[in-house]
C-alpha cells in the first residue's frame, strides 16, 4: 500500500481527484457566498428558503442547470460552440496542481509552477473567443472581442508584478516563494505593496470580474460571450470563472502573503482563510464600483499599470543588486 502511494503517478492521480472535489465544493460555496454578499450589501437576506440560511440553494441551482436542455443556436459552428465551455474548465485542475496549500499538501511541486499557472489560465481567453465566434450572435462576438483586448492588455501588468516577486525570491517555484516568507513580518506584501495592489487589480480584470466585467456586461451585451449558452454550457463558464478567481487568489496568497504561513499555527487553513478573504474583497468590489467604460479600462492598463509595473520592476532589480 505504501509502495503504491510512493509511485508519483498514483500521487498525481490522487492529487487531481482531490482537486476536482475541491473545485466542485468551492463552486457551490462561492455561488452561495456571492448571493449572500450581494444580499448583505443591498440590505436584503439573499437566498433563505432552501436549507438553513439558504445553504442548499446552490445545490438546487446546480440541479436546475444540469436538468436544462442544451440548445445549439441556428447557424452556430457546432463543434466550436460546445468545445468552448469544455476548454474553459479543462485547464482548471492543472492550474491548481502547483499551488501549495501546505508544504505537504501540494499537488505537484514544480520549478516553474508560476509559469504553468499563467500559461494554462491564458487558455480561458481562447475559450471565450471560441464561444463568441461559435455562437453566431453579434453580442457574443462583441463580448469575445472585448475579452481579447482586455485580457491581452492586463496580462502584462500581471506578469510584471509576478516578475518582481520572482526577482526577489530568485525562484518560480511556489513552494520556495512561500517558504521565503515565514513570519508575518517577512511577507512580500510589506516589501511590495504597490506590486500587490497592481496584481490584485490585474487579477480582477483577468478574471472578468466587475468593475471590469465588460466581456459580459449584461446591460449592453445581454450576457456577452455566453449569451447563447443554456444549462451546463453556461454552468461550466460560471464554474470556470469562480475557479480562476480561486486560482488567482491562491497565487496572490502565496506570492504576497506567505502561503500557509500565519500568526499562529501555520497550515493549510491559513491558505484557505487568505483565499476567501481576497474572494470576499473581489465580491465587495463587484457590488461597490460601477462598471468602467472600455476606453477607461484600457487607459488604466496602458497609461498607469504598465508604466508603474515597469518602474517597480526596475526598482526591485536595482535594490536586489545593491542589497542582495
Amino acid at each position: 500500500m505504501t509502495a503504491l502511494l510512493a509511485n508519483p503517478l498514483v500521487q498525481l492521480v490522487i492529487a487531481l481527484l482531490a482537486l476536482l472535489g475541491f473545485v466542485g465544493l468551492n463552486g457551490l460555496v462561492l455561488v452561495w457566498m456571492e448571493r449572500k454578499v450581494v444580499g448583505f450589501i443591498q440590505r436584503r437576506p439573499g437566498p433563505f428558503e432552501v436549507g438553513p440560511h439558504g445553504l442548499l440553494q446552490p445545490l438546487a441551482d446546480a440541479l436546475k442547470l444540469i436538468g436544462k436542455q442544451l440548445v445549439t443556436p441556428r447557424g452556430a459552428d457546432r463543434p466550436l460552440f460546445w468545445l468552448a465551455p469544455i476548454l474553459s474548465v479543462m485547464p482548471v485542475p492543472l492550474c491548481f496542481l502547483p499551488i501549495p496549500f501546505s508544504p505537504l499538501l501540494t499537488g505537484m511541486e514544480l520549478n516553474v509552477g508560476v509559469v504553468l499557472i499563467l500559461a494554462f489560465s491564458g487558455l480561458n481567453v481562447l475559450a471565450l473567443c471560441l464561444a463568441g465566434w461559435g455562437s453566431n450572435n453579434k453580442y457574443s462576438l462583441l463580448g469575445a472581442a472585448r475579452a481579447v483586448s482586455q485580457s491581452v492588455a492586463y496580462e502584462i501588468p500581471l506578469l510584471l508584478t509576478v516578475l518582481c516577486i520572482a526577482f526577489q525570491s530568485g525562484s518560480l517555484n511556489l513552494n520556495v516563494i512561500a517558504g521565503h516568507q515565514s513570519g508575518i513580518l517577512h511577507w512580500n506584501l510589506w516589501v511590495q505593496p504597490l506590486a500587490f495592489v497592481m496584481f490584485f487589480i490585474a487579477a480582477t480584470a483577468e478574471t472578468n470580474r466587475a468593475p471590469f466585467d465588460l466581456p459580459e456586461a449584461e446591460s449592453e451585451l445581454t450576457a456577452g460571450h455566453h449569451t447563447e449558452y443554456s444549462g451546463m454550457g453556461f454552468g461550466l463558464f460560471m464554474l470556470a470563472e469562480y475557479m480562476y478567481m480561486i486560482i488567482i487568489c491562491g497565487m496572490a496568497a502565496v506570492l504576497f502573503m506567505g502561503g500557509w504561513d500565519g500568526p499562529v499555527a501555520p497550515g493549510w487553513w491559513w491558505m484557505v482563510i487568505k483565499i476567501y478573504a481576497m474572494l470576499a474583497a473581489m465580491m465587495w468590489f463587484r457590488w461597490t464600483f460601477p462598471r468602467v467604460r472600455f476606453d477607461q479600462l484600457l487607459n488604466v492598463c496602458w497609461k498607469w499599470l504598465i508604466p508603474l509595473g515597469l518602474a517597480n520592476l526596475l526598482a526591485t532589480a536595482l535594490i536586489m543588486k545593491l542589497v542582495g
Partner: protein, 176 residues
C-alpha cells in the same frame, strides 16, 4: 520521477505529441473556416510544447503555451474577426482558383518531408538518453553570457517592430 517510469512513458508520449502536431497541421490546412484553421495551429503549438516537455525543458514548454497559445493565437483570432469576405462574413476561406488543390498541397508538403526524411535517414544521430532539467539560472547565464549578442539582436528586432506599430497607428490617426 524515477528513470524507469520516464523511459516507459517517453515513447507513448512522443507518439501522442507527434499525432497532435500532425492532426493540428492537417486541420489547419484542410478546414475552410479560418477559425478552425487557427484551432489547428493551436493544436500544433500544444504538441510542440509537449515535445519541449519531453526534452526536459518545462520552462520553454510553458512559455510556448503562454506566448503562442495565450497571446499570439488570440491576436490572430482578433485579426480574423476584423477581416471580411465578399459575402460580408468574416473568417471564410477564398474558394480555390486552380484545380488540383490536393495535388499541389500534397506536393508542397511531401517534397520537403521526403528531403528531410532522406537527410535524417543518412545522417541520423545516435539517440541520447533523457537529460536532467536545465535550471533557469543556467539558462539565464547562457543568455546573458555566450549568447548575449543574439539575445540583444532579438530585442532590437522586437523594439523596431513595436516602434513601427506605434508609428503606423499615429499616422493613420493623423489622416482622419
Amino acid at each position: 520521477m524515477d528513470a524507469d517510469l520516464q523511459q516507459m512513458l517517453a515513447l507513448p508520449a512522443y507518439g501522442l505529441y507527434l499525432l497532435i502536431i500532425l492532426a493540428g497541421g492537417i486541420m489547419a490546412v484542410g478546414s475552410a473556416s479560418l477559425v478552425r484553421a487557427l484551432l489547428g495551429l493551436i493544436l500544433t503549438l500544444f504538441g510542440v510544447a509537449g515535445m519541449y516537455l519531453l526534452m526536459a525543458a518545462p520552462f520553454l514548454a510553458f512559455m510556448q503555451i503562454l506566448i503562442y497559445v495565450g497571446a499570439v493565437s488570440v491576436l490572430i483570432f482578433f485579426a480574423i474577426m476584423l477581416t471580411k469576405g465578399p459575402d460580408g462574413e468574416a473568417g471564410g476561406e477564398e474558394p480555390p482558383k486552380v484545380g488540383g488543390r490536393l495535388v499541389l498541397a500534397g506536393l508542397t508538403g511531401l517534397v520537403p518531408a521526403a528531403i528531410l526524411a532522406g537527410a535524417v535517414a543518412r545522417f541520423a544521430p545516435q539517440a541520447v538518453p533523457l537529460k536532467p532539467e536545465t535550471s533557469l539560472f543556467k539558462l539565464g547565464e547562457f543568455l546573458a553570457g555566450p549568447y548575449v549578442l543574439a539575445f540583444e539582436l532579438i530585442s532590437v528586432v522586437l523594439f523596431a517592430a513595436m516602434a513601427g506599430a506605434v508609428l503606423l497607428g499615429f499616422e493613420r490617426r493623423k489622416g482622419k
